[in-house]
């Protein structure tokens, strides 16, 4: 949104065809612009909560704000100063304690001009204003200084043609540690928004406590909407809601897909990753240390690459490079004018491909440097050992070594949690040893970190020997030998480990079975071993009937409450691309997560 910041201008290619998630974006954009213009007809300034810049950037362009007389843009931070020449300020903020305090300070400073009406302040909360926030604003004596205080319900942001995410920073923790209902309510609301746009869901499946809770809330909300709601045609055939706690293993394991690795190593936030600029010669002299690169399906090459196992990436890139050369050489053999015209028409595409090839070749090199390092292979092989239940019941030398090195605490915790997950808890001696070692090495505050991990069930003290993981591993074939270059199973995504969550969906939806999709299709024992209750219901009223005879591929929305990893997304895409696949997937989530982000959110931090 900031004028200075480089914007990914090209619109996303919404390739899926079956459904247009752009509609959701347009819906948000329309509501946002209407709300902004309703604040004042004249010239106005928008003041942005910095945390909202990235998401809103994906929704609305600066130019359309200009059309609504937004002549100035500012960031809301400690340096922000009100300019008395601007008559109308619109603050676009989250409902956050520190943000509201800042707002109150600013408003109180301008008290006299606000009271005199020579200047107006209005407030737009995203995704909504809360009782608590308004109360705070009132306690601070500033609530009356704002002409209007409104909510703008932007929740799920379309990040790509098949991905919707709320990008809530502590989504997992607020749900599974602090047990707050905020997230599940937002999820319910977002499901209502989706149904309003894409028709009611014929069927909803839920596994996990919060997912079931969302079902209850959605049922209630449906009772409140007009009858006409259920008469719209359904574009989405079914929804599967999953708690992150259904599968706590997958986010801990490092994925080996291209996008998964880029995310693990460089981080992808709102589709943007930041890379060392010195590796991009064309960017030299710009003086930036970091180069921002947008990764989404508008990049054709990236669309092909993102889900590949990294081992195949190099080969693919060189094949594409060769292809490109062949195409370029056509200009030499083009003789007639018409042949030349055909070639010229290809030029823009060639240029785009060339640029993209350059980018991804560099990016792949960057990734390769890291994963070729012994440290990475050691990590991977340790993960693999745990997943195959090798030596998971004692203090692990590799973890010891990592602690000794005082490496990144997040990756150590990931391994400890993984060990706990596959062993259905750690023996008390092992647990206490790890805890003591970590706290000695990293500080006393991690008593809290451990407490959180325990509350979420990521880390446990073994109560009694149980074989949960072993049984699941066997019945869901979680680990298996795969040829990563020639993937035949979703296990390719993690070099021999198939994400449990996606296996469950495979069982529910893809597995050839008799009768309509239902939890009954999944083995009883599996359903029992995976924690949390399950339920299913139909938001369409009964007399409408459920159309289960839908021809062709079904469109399934999989909603992960508490985050989803790129490895899982790739696995789901793989499922819809197999030859006899009966389903296409859209993914919705509270956050695109990986193990590091997940651990980050659990770490003990300053409290104020």
């Amino acid at each position: 949104m900031s004028t200075a910041q480089e914007r990914p201008n090209q619109p996303l290619q919404y390739l899926n065809g079956r459904i247009n998630l752009l509609q959701l974006k347009e819906h948000f954009k329309g509501t946002f612009l209407d709300l902004v213009s309703s604040q004042s007809t004249g010239s106005k300034a928008l003041v942005w909560d910095k945390q909202l810049l990235s998401p809103l950037n994906l929704i609305v362009e600066y130019s359309s704000l200009r059309e609504r007389s937004v002549d100035h843009m500012f960031h809301l931070d400690t340096e922000f100063v009100v300019n008395s020449d601007i008559p109308c300020y619109v603050f676009v903020v989250r409902d956050d304690y520190s943000v509201i305090e800042m707002l109150a300070r600013i408003a109180l400073k301008c008290k006299s001009s606000l009271a005199a009406g020579s200047m107006t302040f209005s407030l737009i909360f995203i995704p909504r204003k809360s009782t608590v926030g308004l109360r705070l604003l009132q306690d601070l004596g500033a609530v009356h200084l704002f002409k209007k205080i409104e909510s703008l319900h932007i929740d799920l942001i379309p990040l790509d043609s098949d991905i919707l995410s709320m990008e809530r920073p502590i989504d997992f923790r607020e749900c599974f540690v602090e047990e707050l209902t905020d997230l599940s309510y937002e999820v319910s609301k977002s499901l209502m928004t989706l149904q309003a746009l894409y028709g009611p869901f014929p069927r909803v499946f839920a596994k996990g406590r919060w997912s079931c809770h969302v079902c209850d809330t959605v049922k209630r909300m449906i009772r409140l909407v007009d009858k006409s709601f259920t008469s719209q045609p359904s574009q989405i055939d079914a929804v599967v809601l999953l708690d992150r706690t259904v599968d706590l293993i997958t986010p801990l394991v490092t994925p080996l897909t291209y996008e998964g690795l880029v995310d693990e190593l460089f981080g992808i936030n709102y589709t943007v990753t930041q890379l060392p600029a010195d590796r991009f010669p064309e960017d030299e002299g710009k003086g930036n240390k970091q180069k921002k690169v947008t990764l989404n399906s508008s990049d054709e090459l990236f669309t092909d690459l993102r889900d590949l196992h990294f081992a195949s990436v190099g080969g693919y890139l060189s094949r594409r490079a060769k292809n490109l050369n062949v195409v370029m050489d056509e200009r030499h053999i083009a003789q007639s004018v018409s042949q030349l015209r055909v070639f010229v028409a290809k030029i823009p595409h060639i240029q785009v491909t060339k640029r993209s090839l350059g980018l991804h070749t560099t990016l792949a090199e960057l990734v390769k440097e890291v994963i070729d390092d012994v440290a990475f292979s050691e990590l991977k092989s340790q993960e693999q050992k745990f997943l195959e239940e090798v030596d998971h019941d004692r203090i692990n030398d590799y973890i010891e070594k990592l602690i000794g090195r005082q490496g990144d605490i997040k990756s150590i915790l990931r391994l400890i949690c993984l060990q706990s997950q596959v062993g259905n808890g750690l023996k008390i001696k092992v647990f206490e040893h790890y805890k003591r070692e970590i706290i000695h090495a990293y500080g006393v505050q991690h008593i809290v970190t451990f407490h959180r991990l325990e509350s979420a069930g990521m880390l446990r003290i073994q109560q009694q020997a149980s074989k949960t993981y072993s049984s699941l591993r066997r019945s869901l074939k979680l680990t298996r030998q795969v040829d990563v270059r020639n993937a035949e199973d979703i296990a390719y995504t993690h070099s021999g480990y198939a994400p449990l969550s996606v296996r469950l969906i495979e069982q529910l939806i893809v597995k050839p079975g008799v009768g309509p999709i239902s939890w009954k299709r999944v083995d009883d024992s599996v359903m029992r071993l995976i924690p949390g209750p399950h339920t299913e219901f139909s938001p369409r009223s009964e007399q409408e009937g459920v159309d289960t005879t839908n021809e062709g591929q079904k469109l399934i929305l999989v909603y992960f409450i508490g985050g989803v990893s790129f490895g899982e997304i790739s696995a789901l895409r793989f499922l819809s691309q197999t030859e006899d696949s009966i389903a296409n997937f859209i993914i919705a989530t509270s956050r695109l997560n990986n193990g590091n982000k997940l651990m980050e959110s659990m770490l003990s931090t300053r409290t104020s």
Partner: protein, 860 residues
Amino acid sequence: MSGVQSRVTENWHQLGNLYLRKFDFYEMAWMDMFDMDKSMVVPAPFGGYIAVVVDPNRLSESDRELGTVTQDKIHLYRPTGTPTALVKWDGGTVAGMGWTQNEELMVVSETGMMKKFDLFGRSKIQPQNILPQGQGRIQEVQFFQNRYGTGVACLTTTILFCYCTNINEPRMKSASLAALPETTRRLDCWLPVEILDTVAILASFNGRLYSLTVDTSEEIIVKTSCPNEPRWERMALSIKTESTSQKLALFNSQQGWLWMGDISAPHRQVDLEVSLSKTKRDSPPSQICWLAADAVAMSWEHTLLVHSRRGEDWVKYTLYGAVVLLPEVDGIRILHPDRHEFLQRVSTVSVQVFQTGSIAPGGILNDALKLYSEKEGHKADEYIRLIKEKSETEDAIKQCISAGTLEIDPEVQKSLFLSAAFGKSFLGGETISDDLIKQFMSSCKQLRVLNNLKTAEVSLPLTYVQLNTLGLPELILRLIRRKMFFLAHHIASYLEIPAGLGTHQVLLEWASLKLQQQEPDEVIAQQILSKFRDTPGISYSYIAEKARSVGRPDLATLLLEEEASASEQIPLLLDMGRDEIGLDKAISSGDPDLVYSVIFRLQKKMTRGDFLLAIRNRPVARNLYLDFCKKQERTTLYNLFQQDDMFLESGMMRVEETLDHEIQEERKKLLVKARSDFQSGGCALSISLSEDYIRLYEKQRELEESLGNRFNMTGLSVTDTLEKCFIHHRAKEAEYIRKEFRISDNQFYWTKIKTLAALHDWAELDKLARSKKPVIGYEPFVEVCLKNGSLGEAMKYCQKIPLDSRAHAYIKCGAYREAADVAFQCKEIGILETILQKCGNDRALTEIVRQQCEALAQKV
């Protein structure tokens, strides 16, 4: 079918370039029930009820002799003339009656008492006095619609006008005619009128016209060519519509002078685009009113005269007795003793369609179908061609549809819609627009409804134009007022009226009535809920609130139980003192904001103890409240922890809070508190760990002091502190820390070698490696040497690493040759392959490694 056309046109009467037509709605059932001559008959517009009361002023001497005439009963009749209700009137002589927009009957007595009644004759509010003191009695009353609602205006015997613009808030204003000579106490005629934004009284006196308000009295000059200044004995205003300006008509019987024109407010002057006609009579008409804005109708005892606004043309109808005229938006209702008639101007589109020889597309289309049904196929085809050539098919269809809606006879309606449908099949190249289809469908539906409303059972006789002026939601309200809930519900869903104005409203009003029945709460709740069940989105809280207001709180609770919208349900529950149920409802709504709003309300309302008790057993509410306290009310948070024995949470909060402080002493204080929390909670490991750090803080302070105060050790962990000891060569302290905190060998050695390597103290490192076999092995030695830039040192330690893992160490050092040899020795073909990839351009090395690979492969 062929008869239709003549049937339609045979009762058309030409009036200049217009046509008038008259048809019967009903034969009146009231035929012998009263004498119209001697009664005050006040019908409500839009086919409403008719109020009738004996008018003593019109009774003859003989009538009076027959018995005492009292006005103690006002009869309400349906538009069919069927009596439907009786109003008991005890206010004395009735000065006037009228209807409000909401179909309430207003009755004003001579003494100024005004009362309001509903359609069932029940009094709705306390009577009000609208007559200012000392103004005698009320002579005449007129009710009028204006922007503020229904108004009332009265003329008193003292020649004072008092009026108000909204009878629901009667703040009476008075207006008098200052110019009135004292001697004459008689006005010729008067009207309340709304010109622009102002309500005024238009009064005619002695040939002059005045506009009166509270503080102004203005003469309005009427431009007239009448030789003698005429005294205007009658006046009428046309009904305001959006398309036409409001018209005024004035009449003088002696001269037979009818004046018609615009009320043009800006100049307060009457514009003179008039048509005058000589219609000499002995007496003024008993009623005068506008027929839409096209003509003026006047009734005498035996004559109804309709005079066009645009020329000298007039039509005369013979009457057989007294009638009552009621102007509607599209015509005039005429109530006879035996009939309920409607007189209207034939609309342009109907003329186009039905007039013989019409060349309008609708007319041609209608004729084409007629020919077709008479087996004159080729002629019909010609007609159709005529329309198609001009691409007027769509217009033709539209005209037929419009004309159809304006007909009252279902047979005629049908024939026109058949014509429209017939035309649709010829659209061919032109595609049928969605609008046209919608228009066809909705017109059909509305006509079906209108025809049903007209039946004697319902007796709500409306025309299509009237219905659309009234609006569909208002129609539903009218049915509700008549307690025709079933029909109202049916029509609302048939016409797809938005639920809030349609089906929901019907059900809610029905339920409100149910509430007043004397049946047990459960029975009523059951009846209501069974009807509501299939209606998602209906407001249960609305009806619950009603139940509460009629004093049935238990019924209210039963109904509220079903309210799906927690945000509507909860405030009511809290108002009724059902606090905990309210909290539970908020929780089950899933909306955290709602939970907070209840929490904050309860916090204010309840004692602290009750409040805590209420949230203690509700984890959702408790967690949200804790989160709020964590962010905004830390002290309350700790109190809560204390009261609920949440020691672990309390300890955790304190531990995390240590990070907020930059001063070691503050951190320590918090940690001491945390430790005692952990002790109360019995968390052994956390106790010992926090104790470790409490002691560490002390040790760190000692160290800071001994190292000189430049060193700030705040935030350093046990291992970090150990590292500092090594860096500053405090071996004794390092050993102390190792023992005191029972540091594992792993950490101790790692820390030590890291520091030594960082200090480039290779000798000391070597000593450590030799002293005894380090528990962590030699790989870390290689690692720290490499990290600190000494390949030579690293290579040295590689040799000490056991053979099976030595190859990796060499690889780390980039010593591929050595690595290959070791791998070959260990027969690790996989490692050899990895090395092969790394050899790069070193051809000699590549060759060697390849040979080794082959050699190994052969052995296998």
